[in-house]
């Protein structure tokens, strides 16, 4: 295992993140765009929501960075379990998006004495924060090729904190490409726009669910 000087690695992390940013936006787009469109308008409100989403995404990145460094080079190179995680993440994304689109579960009266679910979609603001965090985290741990390339580089660093910093800088490189999504806050929200966004989110949830189940079935059958 070669040890890279971190200054070189830092530049590489930023460059890699910036170069693969369009792929990240395209990959996260089906999750982020309908979710943002279904909310009230306002660039500031969208900025806050996108910030929460990106924070959760960063958390996913850092968790992966830590796991990669701790396990060594084995994970990126020959980890056939990657498709298990991909399938599971897609199914979870599907459930989250569907819950958000349909407004399920509905808020229960305080006297119902039931614990609040992990993801509560829709009004009020607190529910939106949970959806931002859930969707952000799930997209953050979606292991796509640029992510794996970053993982291969990160294991060559000499400490866990260096690996985490590498992933954080990689994240910053990709995050630049998410800034134009703030312009969605300028779009006037009519009931039609929100209905379209929620319907699109439901359709995408069906797609992710179908895709995730297929991946898991393939893993079960073919190993």
């Amino acid at each position: 295992m070669t040890i890279l000087p971190f200054t070189m690695a830092a530049g590489e992390a930023l460059a890699l993140g910036f170069a693969t940013g369009p792929v990240c936006v395209a990959t996260c787009g089906p999750v982020v765009v309908p979710w943002m469109l279904a909310q009230s308008e306002g660039v500031r409100r969208h900025g806050l929501q996108l910030g929460l989403f990106m924070t959760a995404r960063l958390t996913g990145y850092l968790l992966f960075g830590a796991a990669v460094w701790l396990a060594g080079a084995a994970i990126p190179r020959a980890w056939t379990g990657r498709s298990w995680l991909l399938g599971a993440v897609q199914v979870l994304l599907a459930v989250s998006l569907a819950a958000y689109a349909t407004g399920w579960p509905r808020r229960r009266p305080k006297c119902a004495q039931r614990p609040e679910p992990l993801v509560q979609i829709g009004e009020p603001m607190r529910g939106k924060a949970r959806s931002a965090l859930a969707l952000g985290f799930l997209t953050g741990i979606n292991i796509c090729p640029p992510f794996l390339v970053a993982g291969v580089r990160a294991v060559q660093l000499d400490s866990l904190s260096a690996s985490l910093l590498f992933f954080a800088l990689f994240f910053v490189g990709t995050a630049v490409w998410f800034l134009p999504l703030l312009s969605l806050g300028l779009l006037r929200r009519t009931p039609a726009v929100v209905t379209v966004a929620r319907a699109a989110a439901l359709l995408l949830a069906c797609w992710y669910g179908f895709s995730g189940v297929l991946v898991l079935i393939e893993r079960v059958i073919y190993g």
């Binding site: 792929v23 990959t27 990126p76 980890w79 990657r82 897609q90 979606n142 796509c144 090729p145 895709s211």
Partner: protein
């Protein structure tokens, strides 16, 4: 006054639309097509096979080895590398070639197939792996985007799957 200006502008726009309609078959259609073609777009690598990495000259034909093509996130399919034998019309009746796919200077696979005289005839061929990075494929035809052997136009295209974790 404002209403009059808007009305005049509207009718001018309507007349212009008519003018545009008349120009469509003679100028506009072809002009847009030309501009689009020159805009520097490329076909998706899963369809086109990607870009040529290197060319190996042979007697009367050449072998083009392409850059590896990898699936996008959420995209089904295996990564593959495309090899093209060009021109198909100049190929001998039987091809048996050892090809360096990754450019490291050593042959990775041995490819063998018969070149049918009728271009419409479906093809079958074999790919024998010369190292453990590739799989040996027997009777490969036009099976999928990543496992493919067929004549397309005046070239014979072969696609060999790459290991997924590469």
């Amino acid at each position: 006054m404002r209403k009059r200006i808007l009305a005049v502008a509207g009718y001018v726009a309507a007349a212009l639309t008519l003018f545009v309609a008349l120009s469509v078959p003679f100028v506009l259609m072809g002009g847009i097509a030309k501009a689009f073609a020159q805009a520097g777009f490329n076909l998706a690598p899963v369809y086109s096979g990607g870009t040529v990495a290197r060319t190996i000259e042979r007697n009367g034909y050449r072998i083009q080895v392409y850059q590896p093509v990898r699936p996008r996130p959420f995209q089904n399919g295996e990564p593959f590398v495309q090899v093209a034998f060009v021109p198909a019309s100049a190929l001998p009746a039987q091809i048996c070639e050892e090809i360096d796919l990754d450019g490291y200077g050593r042959p990775d696979v041995r490819v063998s197939f018969a070149v049918p005289s009728n271009p419409q005839t479906p093809m079958r061929g074999d790919v024998q792996a010369l190292n453990d990075r590739y799989d040996t494929l027997t009777g490969i035809g036009a099976d999928s985007y990543s496992r493919f052997l067929a004549r397309t136009g005046d070239r014979i295209v072969l696609r060999i799957p790459l290991p997924r974790h590469d």
